[in-house]
């Protein structure tokens, strides 16, 4: 989780990612950020995020995003 928070903070240092639960709905993460974020996550976690999983529900909080990464890692196993 800490690794993910670091990536998120690189994008938006001003945001408290541990508390924010509407990153997409509040316009903090916009489409541009999301794609950059996916590139970083794929590099760091060695997972592939498919297009169908790019939804506000998955990207609205660090917690939901981490859950997505964990489920993708599980699928790979």
């Amino acid at each position: 989780m800490e690794q993910l928070l670091e990536i998120l903070r690189e994008l938006h240092p001003e945001t408290d990612f541990e508390k924010e639960t509407a990153l997409v709905d509040h316009g903090i993460l916009v489409s541009f950020d999301i794609v950059m974020l996916i590139t970083r996550i794929e590099e760091e976690f060695d997972v592939v995020i498919p297009a169908k999983d790019i939804t506000p529900a998955h990207f609205n909080s660090a917690k939901s995003l981490y859950a997505l990464i964990a489920s993708l890692e599980e699928q790979d196993d």
Partner: protein, 525 residues
């Protein structure tokens, strides 16, 4: 049948009572028949194209669904008897078949749209390049084809991604694809949002009817008092770029910004209000767009359903696609920053080129789309610079003055780009834009100039009053939806507001004999 025709009002006057008088289980059939009547009024050709989309999307989604089920059964049966590799091979076989069905259906539907929208333009282009006679002829675009094709493709892709349940009844699917209020100019609706709502039984609610009536009337108010009035002047300005240059172009930018806003949001207000009359919540397409502080924000608040559609079905899949990933890896030698940016930047430009092309086959639209993309990318690149500026001058950048400046800057930037929408050629649009910096003719503008555009001073006065009313309403909407606040004052107050709106339309609206209340601007897209 135009929204602004008496025939349409009569159509609604018959349909709404009928919808609530029939048994609830057949309400959706009444809506479907209403769609057929609405489409039938627009002509047989349009009905044929629409039917082709419904049939092909229905067959494709049923086939994809069947392949999913067969895959699950087959893989389950293979579990005890086959190796993991063999099961993977079988799964890939099913995936390939689904992809073939998907691509075939996409080809048919995008193909229809492509031929209708761009056939003649491609004919003209090839003729000019190859010096041969032009092939293809201008085909009349059928009503709402860009909107229902996109909604249908969205549903098809959602089924392919297994994010929605497949609709097994072709008539129920037909109801979603052909829902008549959306055929005029959208919004581009999603099946998971609209599909079930259209099929659900609805009980009449006087409060909802009144609320819907307020929204519809406000839509007509904007369209008939502001949009149709200002469009006369905008058309006159665009028709003679050599005469109306310099400061006339600045006037045109402002008039077109107000006109397009009143026209498009007015049409969507009518659509959403009609939806409410049938108990259906149609997606919002605008969120006070002219209050945006930059162009990216503006595009998240203007024609939101088109932006969402492109994001969901083109931008994200393209950005994370295999070729983009490979490109990103190959560009690593140019630096990490470049390799990370390349897929995003390419996808952004492609999506903006497509957004431009979606609006029409003219080169002006492609250039408009690409310029929007370039401005967005430049703003992204300048973000660190902005951050430094904000950190250096925090009091200034948090002031109302600075926020006002960013809003005005965004409106002017967008209005400049929209000149490409006004003129017939890219050359005319750029010529008009640059003439603002070389020709100073405010004198000519106010000494008879703007009176020669088909509107009187009284017309400009009414339009200005309309613009101020729209502005005031947008400001008021910041706290809470204005309709809720009106409705909270009770039925009598709401009816009074409704009557005032209708009264002002009757006095100041452009309608009736001698006027041609036009089609909505976005209907041509």
């Amino acid at each position: 049948m135009l929204f602004t025709s008496w025939a349409f009002l009569l159509f609604l006057a018959v349909l709404v009572p009928l919808y609530y008088l029939v048994p609830k289980r057949v309400q959706w059939i009444v809506l479907l028949l209403a769609n057929a009547v609405f489409v039938g009024f627009a002509g047989l050709t349009g009905a044929i194209y629409l039917t082709a989309t419904i049939v092909t999307v229905y067959l494709a989604t049923r086939a994809i669904d069947a392949l999913f089920r067969k895959q699950k059964e087959t893989i389950a049966a293979m579990k005890a008897t086959h190796t993991k590799e063999e099961r993977k091979k079988a799964r890939l076989g099913f995936e390939r078949k689904r992809r073939i069905v998907l691509i075939a259906c996409l080809c048919v539907n995008v193909g229809i749209l492509f031929v209708l929208k761009y056939g003649a333009a491609i004919g003209r282009l090839s003729a000019s390049l190859l010096h041969t006679p032009a092939f293809g002829q201008e085909l009349a675009l059928t009503m709402g084809i860009s909107f229902y094709t996109f909604s249908s493709i969205g549903y098809l892709l959602d089924v392919y991604r297994e994010t929605v349940e497949t609709q097994k009844n072709p008539f129920k699917l037909a109801l979603f694809i052909s829902f008549f209020p959306l055929l005029v100019q959208g919004p581009i609706s999603r099946y998971d949002i609209l599909g079930e709502q259209l099929l659900a039984p609805h009980t009449f609610s006087g409060e909802r009817f009144l609320s819907g009536a307020l929204r519809i009337t406000w839509g007509y108010w904007k369209k008939l008092i502001v949009a149709d009035r200002l469009l006369v002047a905008v058309k006159a300005l665009c028709a003679r770029p050599q005469v109306y240059c310099g400061d006339f172009v600045f006037v045109e930018m402002l008039l077109y910004a107000a006109c397009l806003y009143a026209d498009f949001t007015g049409g969507i207000d009518i659509t959403i209000g009609i939806g409410e009359w049938f108990g259906v919540t149609v997606e919002e397409n605008f969120f006070r767009p002219y209050f945006s502080k930059n162009i990216s924000e503006y595009w998240r608040r203007w024609h939101m359903t088109l932006g969402e559609w492109f994001k969901r079905y083109v931008y994200y899949p393209l950005s994370v696609s295999k070729p983009m990933r490979m490109l990103s890896q190959k560009s690593r030698k140019l630096g990490v920053g470049v390799s990370r940016r390349l897929p995003v930047y390419l996808a952004t430009l492609l999506v903006w080129a497509l957004t431009g092309v979606w609006h029409g086959s003219n080169w002006t639209f492609l250039v408009w789309g690409l310029l929007n993309g370039i401005v967005i990318l430049l703003s992204e690149e300048c973000k660190p610079l902005y951050a430094r500026f904000h950190a250096r001058f925090p009091r200034l950048t948090e002031s109302v003055f600075y926020r006002g400046f960013t809003v005005i800057r965004t409106v002017l930037l967008l209005s400049s780009l929209r000149l490409l929408d006004c003129y017939a050629t890219v050359k005319d649009a750029f010529g008009a834009f640059f003439s603002m910096f070389t020709t100073w003719n405010w004198g000519a503008v106010f000494r008879g100039g703007i009176q020669s555009l088909g509107l009187s001073w009284a017309d400009y006065g009414v339009a200005l009053f309309g613009v101020l009313a729209m502005f005031a309403l947008s400001m008021a909407q910041r706290k809470a939806p204005i309709r809720k606040r009106i409705m909270a004052h009770g039925t009598t107050a709401s009816v009074c507001v409704l009557l005032v709106l209708i009264g002002t339309i009757l006095v100041f609206g452009r309608y009736g004999f001698g006027f041609d209340a036009g089609q909505f601007i976005y209907n041509r897209f």
